[in-house]
Amino acid sequence: MGAMAERRVAIVDDHELVALAVRNLLTEAEGLTFARHADTVAALVSRARDADLVLLDLSLRDGSTPAENVAALRRWGVHVLVLTSGEDPFLVRAASRADVAGIVRKSAPPTALLDAITTAASGEHVATTEWASAVDADPLLHGAPLTEREREVLGLYASGLGAREVAGQLFISENTVNDHLRRIRAVYQLIGRPATSKVELYQRGIEDGFVPGPRRV
């Protein structure tokens, strides 16, 4: 990653202090620079894009929903990593169905936070326990086209294991675990598209190559 260009990170949070903390965290990180802080998504995207990744607070005071915010940021052309202080599963699910790189708890250890930011800044999926448990427990997932193995990976991840531990448990490679997680994320985001019936979901799954069968990735 060191060879790559600097990634610019902006933050949308109505606590300026959180932005300050993130800024301090980023000064010690290689390949990441702090771009800007804004109270709302609207304020951030009102200017020309000056970031590659936006850290988005899950519950903003302006009454906006995670889905709207993520959509606006994606249109703006950035990756989105969601920050949460609590873990209201409904909000986490709402964010997970949107096109986000991942969901991270503000109270996570700083190293974990930095890892997540680095990963998300390069457009990769950040899998966390919070994300996995909210998704794993979502009744909507029953109808989703996931393989048994994928459900197994998700269950283990939701129980607090990292990719390496899951790989060890299932005797597969860490890369394969990450592939599974990426596909789960993509399938779950499909559910987030408006007006999905199970049938439609399945049809979309075929179109997008997500239906169970020959592995795509």
């Binding site: 903390a21 609590g86 503000k106 700083p110 427990a137 129980s159 607090g160 294991l161």
Partner: protein, 713 residues
């Protein structure tokens, strides 16, 4: 017309159309009668009569186009014209030549229906009495006080009474429908408002939780943030949190808390209610509080040193507040009119709110008791019951009148033809027995046996009378009398039977009349009443029945809305409890942060433990319990990152959750860096898992809380 009175308007339309229909019937029968009379009345009087009928007809025909005020005014004009028409008869009779009083003068049914629309049930009964009085007095003066005349008038009064009772029933059902709809609307809007409040509350509470959590997370984090900024942030969080708690106290402080405060303020003993008092409209709440304050003040001034108490009782939405003292007491009848205390401040206050009341019980030497009471509105039930009660009262009245009038008919006939007394007595007995059989019916709908008895009496009575008696109106009185019993059958829900029986009775009279070569006009007069009353009763009752079904549906909806509202209120109370909890645990630490002292590692761990605890309140569900909570707090105090997740659907048996928690306590105790404890979603092989420092364990059963690794035994 305004939406609120739709039910009553529909009922008025039904009744005014019935009035128009009755006018047409009278006109037709009168036309059939023309041959009978030798009366010569001045043309202006005929014009007046026709106009009166035409007005009634017009109002009925165009009723749906008229606004309610015009409809009632039109009906009132029709009533007034009938009254004038009847009142001017002596003048017309004086100018013309009258051998007997024309019967339409007493055919007041149409006017009774119009009077119901114009002024309600009282106007209706007034019209009935007016018609009856006119009949008796004019017959005495102008001739026609004979058998046919008297019996005709008796039946006219009965018919008008039946119309009055049924029409009144339709109107009260319509009003009941409006009440039910209003209650439904009110319950719906209360439910809606409560939902809105809950939603707003939930959102605010979530934001405040978020604020507190974010602050604690920052304080606990080793990331460097300026202490003064952190302190400012903490002050903001404390401020928001206390404001949320205060707001809650302000909006939802129950009446009993306020009353308790009033009582304690003047040193009176306070006894709270067993059941929580319902939320009251603000003005009601203020009135009760103000009256109670005044009563307490009176007790303090007039009974110094006495034992004073204030007790609150609540049940089913009603509230009663009693302020008592064991002081010298007084005679309430001697309160001077200018004594503002009791009269205005207590009784007046309570009287000004709907359904509020105050009473003072006292006697010299026996202390004083002031009781304030408030009963919430439950318009729906009152309306539904009121309907039936008015019908029952009316039916009872008509029943008594019916029997009395039939006795009069029988006596008149015996006086007229003494030799016919056995026949008259027998038929009178049949009428009374049949009426009694119907009246004593235990349920609303008479049994098949009772129905058969009544119907048989009506039909056979008609047949026997037709065969035995000459075909004149007077001699055939039992036919009409027995037909009224069929109205009773219809009122009690057997519409079909009543209609068929009425048709049979009409057929019997027609056949008998044709055989006896009676003129068509007379057959018409003989058959109209029996047919008319049964048909009208059936139509009106069917309309009422439809209205009542609608009332029941609205009532049901109102109850559902009220349930929803109380659910929302319950959820809000729970939310408030959680906020209070949060304030209790978090505010002290946040206040410490807000002082801006440098943060030590030990402080950080304490903040982390608290932050985790608050987080658990959101996500740990049934895992947020002792002894696990304590063990987790200790682990967090050691710097372990603990996450507890409840993804179950809350259907696990309590014992199993307890076993899981105990099992997790052991695992948490050995953790060095991180713990994720989780209740698994339903439908999995196991119910819980815990991952300690990356080492996963599955809960294998409540038995001895043994642990299983993911890789199996």
């Amino acid at each position: 017309m305004s939406d609120e009175k739709r039910g009553l308007r529909a009922a008025r339309l039904v009744v005014i159309r019935a009035s128009a229909f009755l006018v047409v019937v009278v006109a037709v029968v009168n036309a059939g009668f023309v041959s009978q009379g030798d009366n010569v009345l001045p043309p202006w009087y005929g014009v007046l009569g026709v106009t009166a009928g035409a007005v009634t007809l017009a109002v009925g025909l165009f009723s749906s186009l008229l606004v309610t005020r015009a409809l009632r005014a039109g009906a009132a004009v029709a009533v007034a014209m009938y009254v004038v028409f009847v009142a001017l008869f002596p003048l017309a009779a004086h100018a013309g030549h009258v051998e007997r009083m024309p019967w339409p003068l007493t055919a007041s049914s149409a006017t009774v229906a119009a009077a119901l629309v114009a002024g309600g049930v009282r106007w209706g009964w007034a019209t009935v009495l007016y018609g009856a009085a006119a009949g008796v007095s004019y017959r005495l003066v102008f001739g026609g006080f004979d058998v046919d005349g008297v019996i005709n008038d008796a039946h006219a009064v009965l018919t008008a009474s039946v119309i009055c009772v049924l029409g009144g029933y339709v109107l009260s059902a319509g009003a009941g429908l409006d009440d039910a709809a209003a209650a439904r609307r009110e319950a719906g809007s209360r439910e809606y408002a409560e939902k809105g409040r809950l939603a707003a509350r939930t959102r605010t509470a979530a934001l405040v939780h978020d604020e507190a959590l974010a602050t604690l997370a920052l304080a606990a984090s080793p990331l460097s943030v300026p202490t003064d900024r952190l302190a400012a942030q903490a002050r903001r969080a404390v401020d928001m949190l206390t404001r949320l708690v205060d707001d809650d106290a302000g909006t939802a402080a129950p009446l009993e808390a306020a009353l308790g405060a009033e009582a304690r303020a003047v040193g009176a003993e306070y006894v709270g209610p067993a059941e929580q008092a319902p939320p009251l409209p603000p003005e009601t709440r203020e009135a009760i509080l103000g009256a109670a304050r005044q009563a307490l003040d009176n007790a303090r001034r007039h009974a110094p040193g006495a034992r004073r108490s204030l007790s609150v009782r609540a049940s089913g939405g009603a509230v009663e507040v009693e302020i008592a003292d064991d002081g010298p007491g007084f005679d309430p009848s001697h309160i001077a009119h200018d004594r503002l205390g009791v009269r205005q401040s207590i009784a007046g206050r309570m009287a000004r709110i709907p359904r509020g009341a105050a009473r003072v019980e006292s006697a010299p030497g026996e202390g004083t008791r002031v009781v304030l009471s408030y009963v919430p509105e439950d318009a729906v039930e009152v309306a539904a019951l009121g309907d039936r009660r008015s019908l029952q009262r009316g039916t009872a009245l008509v029943g008594v009148g019916f029997v009395a009038l039939q006795v009069v008919c029988a006596i008149v006939m015996v006086v007229n033809a003494p030799s016919s007394w056995p026949r008259q007595l027998a038929i009178l007995l049949v009428v009374i027995v049949a009426a009694e059989v119907l009246r004593r019916s235990p349920g609303l709908v008479p049994t098949r046996g009772r129905t058969i008895i009544v119907v048989a009496a009506a039909v056979l009575g008609a047949v026997i009378t037709m065969v035995a008696a000459p075909t004149t109106y007077g001699d055939l009185w039992p036919v009409v009398a027995l037909a009224f019993l069929l109205v009773g059958v219809a009122v009690r829900g057997r519409f079909g039977v009543a209609l068929v029986a009425a048709a049979v009775v009409v057929a019997v009279v027609v056949v008998g009349g044709v055989i006896d070569r009676v003129p068509v006009g007379q057959i018409l007069t003989l058959t109209t009443r029996p047919a008319l009353i049964v048909v009208m009763a059936t139509v009106m009752l069917l309309i009422v029945r439809r209205m009542q079904r609608r009332i029941a549906a609205l009532h049901h909806q109102a109850v559902t809305a009220a349930e929803q509202e109380s659910w929302s209120r319950g959820a809000r109370a729970e939310l408030r409890e959680r906020t209070d909890d949060l304030a209790r645990t978090v505010v002290p630490l946040l206040s410490r942060i807000s002082e801006g002292h440098p943060v030590s590692d030990a402080d950080r761990r304490e903040y982390a433990a608290l932050e985790g605890g608050v987080r658990d309140g959101l996500r740990a569900g049934s895992l947020s319990r002792e002894p696990l909570r304590g063990a987790v707090a200790v682990a967090r105090g050691r710097g372990v990152d603990v996450v507890l997740l409840d993804d179950s659907d809350q259907s696990l048996p309590e014992a199993e959750v307890r076993a899981v928690a105990a099992w997790m306590v052991d695992a948490v105790a050995h953790a060095q860096r991180s713990v994720v404890g989780r209740l698994l979603p339903p439908g999995r092989q196991r119910v819980a898992s815990i991952t300690v420092d990356g080492r996963p364990l599955l809960f294998s059963g409540a038995g001895q809380g043994s642990v299983t690794s993911f890789q199996g035994e």
